[in-house]
Amino acid sequence: MIVAKRKPFDEIMELLQDYKKVLTVGCGTCVAVCLAGGEKEVAVLNSELDMARKLADNPIELGSTTLERQCDREYLDELASKVDEYDALLSMACGVGIQFLAERYPEKPVLPAVDTSGLAVNQSVGFYEERCRSCQQCVLGWTGGICPVTMCAKGLYNGPCGGTNLGSCEIDPEQPCAWYMIHERLAKQGRIDNIKNICSAVGWKDTVPRTLIQPGYKKPEEEGA
């Protein structure tokens, strides 16, 4: 899932300082699961903001709502009747949701309340680890199901480099070396030949904004064409 963390409170206060009436918009999907921007987090943030602004002699009127998904147009439409009542919208969705909200209501300032940090697994309650950089050319089939693009600090395709340190990455003894793990797993599976050939220079696909259309589908403007 997409994981995010709430921005430092002072930063949110600064973003909101010129606004008197703000709607905080949570998202009920990924950011709710990772405890960053669901209904509960919206309520907590609003009460903190309310108190802090009162103490600063700059009271704020806050509304709250949590949509099923901010990355889906049909859910964003639910806000159409409310948006005009507010000076600004404070989104607690991931970066995708924040932008889609801003795109749907372009006349309103839309501000982020979270920092999005990637595609991660749920290791434990409140503990998430990144696993995918959405490079659009998955190599997991020959790397033993361990992503070197994400897990190697240098994103090497022909690792391990000379910096492995007792199975750890050179950047931190706590960070396992991705290529060490790949080697160990492939060796156990008898698939070490997988990494004996050179992986050629990568044609990066994530250097421009990407669109994705599944087979059999078209962009709405092309429908019926």
Binding site: G155, L156, N158, P160, G162, G163, N165, L166, A201, V202
Partner: protein, 314 residues
């Protein structure tokens, strides 16, 4: 080795190795500023003492005078640089542009490296480029040289004829994998290898034995990495703080056992003993001496290691 009677690059290092001499290369770290004199002063100690001088590229991710610029200073002084290039700081366009540029100015050797992570250096928050990795860099330089084509496929006018080097670290896990990684670098197109600093001789002997058995040391030249210890503190630092470095306790004990004021001399003595062994070791074709900030000691070490005078090959 090559069935071609001609040279791949015609560099002095290539000529020395191809003639079957035991190569001896040195290293020079560019300054943290604009002082050309500092480069030239260090270079004077190495002139006539080594076959080529590695010019490090923002080593340990600390900003220094660029390796190409310091390489050119050496060319002007009549020394042969081994131009180091890391994948951390440049994308494929900048790399290829720099390769054309240095070749134009007389650089004939290159060492292709991944590069230490920026986290170690003086700009720990920098974004690492790693557009291509060291394996892909080797293949790119070979393609530029042998096919006369850029990585993108277009023809190069007057392709750069570079003698291609890379690093190998026999001391980083997984040990079993290291000869295979060397094999991959050979497949990618490497001509010579300079190894990580060697202290654990047992581990290195084992690595070379496997490399010999796999036929790898007949396909590229291996220069064994040697760094003389200046002090007990340096040995402990390298053991504990430098990733991928294997410093046995015996090394530290021997330095500790040296008479007061003679630890550095003991370090040099140990390095020379290693060099003597490398001269006799099957599959080792030379030594790369990394006398870190100790360039002025290189003539003394070379003398003591009996690698002088350096061969002249036409």
């Amino acid at each position: 080795m090559s069935t071609d009677n001609g040279y791949k690059s015609g560099s002095n290092l290539e000529k020395v190795l191809k003639a079957g001499h035991f190569a001896f290369t040195g290293e020079l770290g560019p300054p943290r500023g604009t002082g050309a004199e500092e480069v030239l002063e260090k270079a004077q100690h190495l002139k006539g003492v080594v076959d080529a001088v590695n010019i490090t590229d923002n080593q340990t991710a600390v900003v220094r005078m660029s390796s190409w610029a310091a390489s050119l200073l050496l060319v002007q002084e009549g020394l042969e640089p081994n131009f180091q290039m890391v994948c951390r700081d440049r994308n494929r366009l900048a790399m290829q542009g720099d390769i054309l540029g240095v070749y134009t100015h007389g650089v004939r050797n290159m060492l292709c490296l991944s590069g230490d992570h920026a986290k170690f250096g003086d700009h720990p928050d920098a974004k690492g480029v790693f557009d291509i990795d060291s394996m892909q860099l080797i293949a790119m330089v070979k393609q530029m040289r042998d096919e006369g084509k850029f990585l993108g496929g277009a023809d190069i006018e007057h392709p750069p004829k570079i003698f291609i080097g890379a690093a190998a670290n026999p001391f980083a896990e997984p040990y079993d994998w290291r000869p295979h990684r060397l094999s991959k670098k050979i497949d990618a197109g490497v001509d010579f290898i300079q190894t990580q600093c060697i202290y654990n001789m047992d581990r290195f002997r084992e690595f070379i034995k496997v490399a010999n058995d796999m036929g790898l040391t007949e396909k590229c030249y291996i220069l064994a990495g040697v760094t003389p210890m200046k002090s007990v503190g340096m040995a402990k630092y390298m053991k504990n703080k430098v990733p991928g470095m294997d410093v046995p306790d015996d090394t530290i004990k021997r330095l500790q056992g040296a008479e007061k004021g003679k630890v550095a001399a003991e370090g040099i003595k140990m390095a020379c003993e290693q060099i003597e062994e490398f001269k006799e070791m099957d599959g080792v074709h030379g030594v790369h001496l990394m006398a870190i900030e100790w360039e002025h000691k290189v003539p003394e070490i070379a003398e003591q290691a009996k690698v002088l005078p350096r061969p002249q090959v036409d």
